[in-house]
Symmetry: C2
Subunit: 196 residues, 2 copies
DNA sequence: GTCTATAAACTGATAGAC
DNA sequence: GTCTATCAGTTTATAGAC
């Protein structure tokens, strides 16, 4: 019988964890297999055994983001639109508080032109899924009357996604940005701040 | 007497022009002196003569952005807030239409953690100046009654900056994003679309 | 699965001739 | 100002031993 630790808690997963940290703090072009191998305490070639090309590693990273985001979305089917928005905000805060990481879609679209085509395709799908979720929150909020705002739900969803993506980046030069943005988005949706 | 062409139309300026194109399409970490020298038709060492370290080139780039942006802002003192906003939108569109370039502040804050300290300081000042301008538009628009929106002018300015910065990046995966964002920001400010 | 060893290309950077 | 020549360091990646 297997030990309590999952069989996926192996080197392959730890490589992804380290690569994710590097991707969200430095970007895909600014980290190397050396960064990973020294952080993991192994040699260069060991990383290539698990992910032969850096493109393979990049694709695996985005696919994991997509699976994780899908689970994140599914896990809050019963929540109100306002509650789902607050979860979105909490997720955003968590990125910033963890070494001032930024949104994966922010990295991927900023470095887009330098990424291999397989990563670009994965990035397209990922951005689509994030936008759809933001749009759904705005749409449901209007439908049940809990949110009141100008424009279409589609446009409001895109605005929220774009603002939070840019906001996480800008927060690196001014840490008050995220708090300001969250309050303003609530105000634009006709919501009041959640009680502390 | 000097020829009609300005004395600043020399190699040093052309290097900055090429570097700017590379920065806004590929990012600071994803272009090299080789890219510049081959585009300019000179050798590697010639670039180092004008900008000994890559950091020098990066600082010069941001300083030029700051001067240019300052002129851009001063050049529209007489315009209404709504007109100034439309100029902002036009500037944004121009970036995207030029090889899908993104906002300089988007590159600089995304790559922030990997930039040398001198570039970080310049980036901080640049972001401050851009945010101040966005806030000023929102503040003047409320003051003269031409814009109506929830929240403070400070928060609305930050939201517009963040949304357009993120929007230029997202536009690389979906070209309709910018049009959607412009319309939504107008709607949130209580403005109607400008006549075509 | 991890290691040693190494390749081939690229990077930022410098010295010194013209 | 630009050139040739060169450097030391890094990057992605592979071959083959253990």
């Amino acid at each position: 019988m297997k030990p309590a630790t999952d069989m996926k808690n192996d080197t392959s997963k730890r490589i992804l964890d380290i690569a994710e940290e590097l991707l969200l703090t430095r970007g895909f072009n600014a980290f190397s297999y050396q960064h990973i191998s020294s952080a993991l305490g192994v040699r260069n070639a060991a990383i290539h055994y698990h992910y032969p090309k850096k493109t393979d590693l990049g694709v695996a990273l985005i696919q994991r983001y997509r699976r994780r985001f899908q689970r994140f979305v599914e896990a809050q089917g019963g929540l109100t639109p306002a509650q789902q928005l607050e979860r979105y905000f909490t997720l955003t805060d968590a990125y910033f508080e963890h070494d001032q990481q930024i949104c994966p879609s922010g990295i991927l679209t900023t470095e887009y032109q330098t990424l291999p085509e397989e990563m670009q395709q994965q990035a397209n799908a990922f951005v689509d899924e994030m936008r759809d979720w933001a749009v759904r929150i705005a749409a449901c909020g209007r439908e049940d009357g809990s949110m009141r705002y100008a424009g279409t739900p589609q446009a409001m969803g895109v605005l929220m996604l774009a603002a939070l993506q840019g906001g996480l980046q800008l927060a690196r030069t001014d840490q008050t940005v995220l708090l300001t943005l969250k309050e303003q988005i609530r105000a634009l949706l006709g919501l009041t701040s959640p009680l502390p």
